[in-house]
Symmetry: C2
Subunit: 195 residues, 2 copies
DNA sequence: GTCTATAAGGTGATAGAC
DNA sequence: GTCTATCACCTTATAGAC
């Protein structure tokens, strides 16, 4: 990893991504210019193009990175075996993961429509993979009579929406910790689906 | 209501609002130019300014109209008396109202950040008024031992998020009617909060 | 790797004719 | 009420110097 004299790629690169993530989350992709990103990073606009081929690719890269990490972390944390235990694990993981990175979560939902079709399809497929794990848990639990869920697809949507909604109101440093929120939401989810 | 010769305000006015609503919902407020709206409406850009003082006011007006209608319709439909019946009525109303106008719902959530502070505060106050009715129902039901909800504020957020999430997947003409969805979601909400 | 300068075109909003 | 023309500015992206 030799470092070219005068180069700052190991500093500027991550800074560009962090800055873009923050600005896209706060103001929206369409409302944030490459000049604004460059200004926050502390470089001129031309320098940004050393780190992304264009603005669209920058957005896609942020969303792709987020979804890849979601699936990787989820796979690393899946250890339970019974449907009830798997559901609790999923609920707690989802809340913890999403509360940890509110900006990435926000743009991954809000900026989907600003992805070019091919990029959109790729992100959607990853999101679908994640949701399918929850649906499988709900179907397995229904088959085992642990759950009473008449429509597992709708229940999947309902649970995901309820859990992701935490990000709209939760503020770190408030009266509740992530663990508190996990307890309360798990209690509601359990009762909503339990036989 | 005399009509000036050559004037079309009674046609163009609503058309500007409908077009802006549709384009903002599809592409986002920042990505839609006044020229694009004018083009879809079938007028030149200067004509738009007979119907709105500026682009920001157009967005605000759409969101304000949506929230006013939400609160008016809700008030008109509130007839139940027991907490359980009031909750069921609220759940069914919320789904029916939101499925009826997906574009207005979408921009009312997605474009909040593009409102100027004073406009944002006004819309937020209306949304808060709506949410407070649900929280009151949950608190009354908990006091009456019909519900077992340890944290009524969080339960309010959870229920609203779950219900509004219907709009992300529901498509008119699919396998389920609005009434079907209401039945399924009411069943989940009831079990999540019932004592 | 970063800079400056530039290309080619889009932006919200207004003035004044009809 | 709608049109055309215009203002002042911002946009993404690239070329070439250092």
């Amino acid at each position: 990893m030799a470092r070219t004299a005068g180069s700052h790629s190991d500093i500027t690169g991550p800074k560009v991504r962090d800055t873009a993530l923050r600005l896209f989350a706060r103001h929206g992709y369409a409302a944030v210019s490459m000049r604004k990103i460059a200004g926050e990073v502390g470089v001129q606009v031309g320098a940004l193009y050393n780190y992304t081929s264009d603005k669209q690719t920058l957005l896609f890269s942020l969303l792709k990175g987020h979804m890849d990490e979601l699936l990787a972390q989820r796979a690393a944390h899946a250890t339970a075996t019974t449907p009830m235990a798997r559901l609790e694990e999923f609920v707690r993981f989802h809340i913890a993961f999403h509360l940890d990175r509110p900006e990435a979560v926000f743009i991954s939902y809000m900026e989907l429509r600003n992805l070019e079709p091919a990029n959109f399809d790729e992100i959607e497929a990853l999101r679908r993979t994640y949701e399918d794990e929850l649906e499988t848990i709900l179907r397995d639990g229904t088959a085992a009579a642990e759950f009473a869920v008449p429509d597992t697809r709708l229940a999947t949507f309902a649970v995901i929406a309820m859990l992701t909604g935490v990000n709209t109101w939760y503020r770190a440093g408030g009266r509740l910790s992530s663990a508190d929120v996990q307890d309360i939401y798990w209690n509601m989810v359990r009762r909503a689906v339990a036989a």
